[in-house]
């Protein structure tokens, strides 16, 4: 702590749990966008990951409320946001938007995977048969007609899912952007920046997960798909960098009173995290790497490895961005005369360990879903038993 803080600012209120929340919702939005790029806009190069990205989005979406509920001072009253909301508050929108989006994603997953579920219901026994039958809602018709209707419904759901996904992450940006008391947060660009970095993080996560899953399943990576992901990543990343850069450049150019504090914040207090990780290693370097991979004819496994590394850096960069916004904003004292400091504890309900567990839960759910309804649509191959239970089923 340097300079002067208001006495009540001794505690950082929105801590690590609130950093991981927008990170998780961002991954949801980004993964959903990838899925919709195929289902709505027919970008066939993304077909190999379309169904996978859908269940990735679902896995992360189910975990989204968890860090928020844990962070509340009175989590047992959390339902009040649903029952007696103050609709003037951006935060009150959370319950409704999340719920509606959950319905959309659940519905879309169900309609997309219905043929598979019905097939598994037919070909399994005992408990598994019950589970699949329940998932199929007891209806086992997968005629051409039904599938055609399903496809239309999927398209509509994916279509309305896009603005809903934007709403899910945009409202988070608005929560921060509409706080006039905090000069680092208060900007109308915040919802858009959050949405763009969300999309970026989702695409990067999919790229990373797809490569890892291909490795686990011992299948070749579809290079056209990887390239498509890579190009979309570059596109959104460019827009993201421009927006984030514009936000800071505006502050610098207009040089309002708060600029003295903000410039200190981003160059000293969170300098490494902001300039180093968010911008340089999180955006500039990945853009260069991905661009180089496209421009020069890099061949073979090096292409995959470079894209993989670039995506990992992007994901870390987006996490750093969430940190820089949430924690960075609270480091500036409202007296405009000092800075707090924050080091997350290791133990405790708002510690690093709990946050790591929360971050890993979506992958657990993803593993369960991959087991139940594998999204892969490869050419039929001989079944091989893998050490993990990610099996391809004969079609």
């Amino acid at each position: 702590m340097t300079g002067f803080l208001f006495p009540n600012e001794g505690i950082i209120e929105w801590d690590l749990l609130i950093v991981i929340y927008p990170f998780i919702t961002g991954l949801v939005a980004g993964a959903f966008i990838v899925s919709s790029l195929y289902h709505v806009f027919g970008i066939t190069s993304l077909k190999p990951v379309a169904r996978f990205s859908l269940i990735t989005a679902l896995s992360f979406l189910l975990i989204t409320p968890l860090p928020l509920a844990i962070h509340l001072g009175r989590p047992e009253r959390a339902l009040e946001m649903f029952l007696t909301p103050n609709l003037n508050s951006a935060m009150s929108a959370f319950g409704y938007i999340w719920f509606v989006y959950l319905l959309i994603v659940l519905a879309e997953v169900w309609f997309v995977f219905r043929p598979d579920i019905v097939k598994y219901a037919g070909s399994s026994e005992g408990l598994k048969k019950t589970i699949y039958s329940a998932l199929a809602l007891g209806v086992f018709e997968i005629s051409e007609e039904a599938q055609a209707i399903d496809k239309k419904i999927v398209k509509s759901l994916a279509f309305i899912g896009i603005p809903t996904a934007f709403l899910l992450h945009g409202y988070v940006g608005f929560i921060f952007g509409a706080v006039k008391a905090n000069p680092w947060w208060s900007t109308p660009l915040m919802p858009i920046i959050f949405i763009m970095s969300a999309t970026v993080s989702g695409i990067a996560l999919l790229l990373v997960s797809y490569v890892i899953m291909s490795k686990i399943r011992n299948k070749p990576v579809d290079q056209a798909c990887l390239r498509s992901l890579s190009l979309w990543l570059m596109g959104f990343l460019t827009v993201n960098v421009v927006l984030e850069g514009l936000e800071v450049f505006s502050m610098f150019y207009e040089a309002e009173e708060s600029w003295a504090m903000i410039s200190q914040l981003i160059t000293q207090k969170i300098g490494i995290s902001y300039i180093g990780i968010q911008f340089v290693s999180g955006a500039i370097v990945p853009l260069l790497v991905l661009g180089v991979v496209e421009a020069i004819g890099v061949t073979g496994p090096a292409k995959t490895v470079l894209r993989f590394m670039a995506s990992v850096m992007v994901i870390v960069g987006v996490f750093a961005m969430r940190w820089n916004v949430v924690i960075g904003g609270q480091l500036i004292s409202k007296s405009l005369r000092g800075f707090s400091s924050y080091v997350p504890p290791i133990l405790g309900i708002n510690g690093v360990i709990v946050s790591a567990v929360i971050m890993s839960l979506p992958f657990v759910i993803l593993a369960v879903l991959l087991y139940l309804i594998p999204p892969w649509q490869d050419e039929p191959q001989a079944v091989r038993r893998e050490p993990l239970s990610f099996r391809t089923r004969p079609r």
Partner: protein, 267 residues
């Protein structure tokens, strides 16, 4: 063939009617209770409270901070303050130093606090008392997701601590640092913990015709409390005679604590 329109409408209508019937049971079951008025002869429609802090009179004794903590059972630790006192020291070379040791709770007269700036070439130095501004356009009320914080008819912003969920959005939204979250202790005024708390201008005192505790004990007339609706009140008199300002006016919060003794750089 799609689901027939008839079937669809039937299904939808059933669901809708059922939902309406079931949800309207609520009003039969509950029976809205009439809201109770505040006891005694206090009518919150008949007052609109205001506050004046005089930077030219404050002596930094910190008795206001102590009185507030005693009156309102505010935790004694320095991270929890409904009111506090800041000291501003301006040197000849235009540097500004601000501090508020323990919120001013122990005053500024003991060493090392009293001698902290002795080595500097001081041009001007003064104290600024701070508390919740009970804004007329409170950003904290706007952002509460459950509507637990609200503004009363007599102009005070209160927190319904039985419904606060402890999300801390209001703490982020307050430009003046007036709010804090009550730690896990049992000895609070309304018996609640892990909810947000703030200065209430001693609502339990002013509704009985008393002064807020900080105003009551101030020996230097640096804090003045009164009814903005009453032309004879001391606050109205000051507003008529002296030049006053509010903190961070550019944010449009319309604070109701008026400061005498403006100095650039006091936020």
């Amino acid at each position: 063939m799609k689901i027939s329109r008839r079937d669809f409408i039937k299904l939808g209508a059933k669901g809708l009617v059922g939902g309406i019937m079931v949800s309207s049971l609520q009003s039969l079951v509950r029976g809205f209770a009439a809201p109770e008025k505040i006891s005694g002869t206090y009518d919150w429609e008949k007052h609109y409270w205001g506050f004046v802090c005089d930077n030219e009179r404050c002596i930094g004794c910190g008795k206001c901070v102590v009185a507030c903590k005693l009156e309102n059972k505010v935790p004694w630790e320095p991270e929890y303050n409904r009111t506090w006192v800041e000291r501003y020291v301006i040197t000849e070379d235009d540097k500004v130093f601000v501090d508020s040791p323990n919120g001013g709770r122990d005053g500024f007269a003991m060493e090392p606090i009293s001698t902290k700036y002795d080595a500097l070439n001081i041009r001007k130095s003064f104290f600024v008392p701070k508390l919740c501004n009970q804004c007329d356009n409170p950003p904290c009320v706007t952002v509460c997701p459950v509507g637990a914080t609200y503004k009363t008819r007599d102009g005070i912003v209160l927190v319904d601590q039985e419904h606060c969920i402890g999300c801390r959005y209001c703490i982020q939204a307050c430009p003046y640092g007036a709010r804090y979250i009550l730690p896990d202790t049992s000895n609070t005024v309304l018996g609640q913990a892990n909810v947000v708390d703030k200065c209430t201008w001693c609502y339990h005192r002013i509704t009985k015709g008393l002064l807020p505790a900080c105003v009551e004990v101030c020996p230097a007339k640096a804090r003045v409390f009164g009814d903005l609706d009453d032309p004879a009140s001391p606050v109205r008199k000051i507003l008529a005679e002296k030049h006053v300002y509010g903190l961070k006016p550019e944010l449009g919060t319309e604070p109701k604590v008026y400061y005498i003794g403006f100095e650039k750089g006091v936020y």
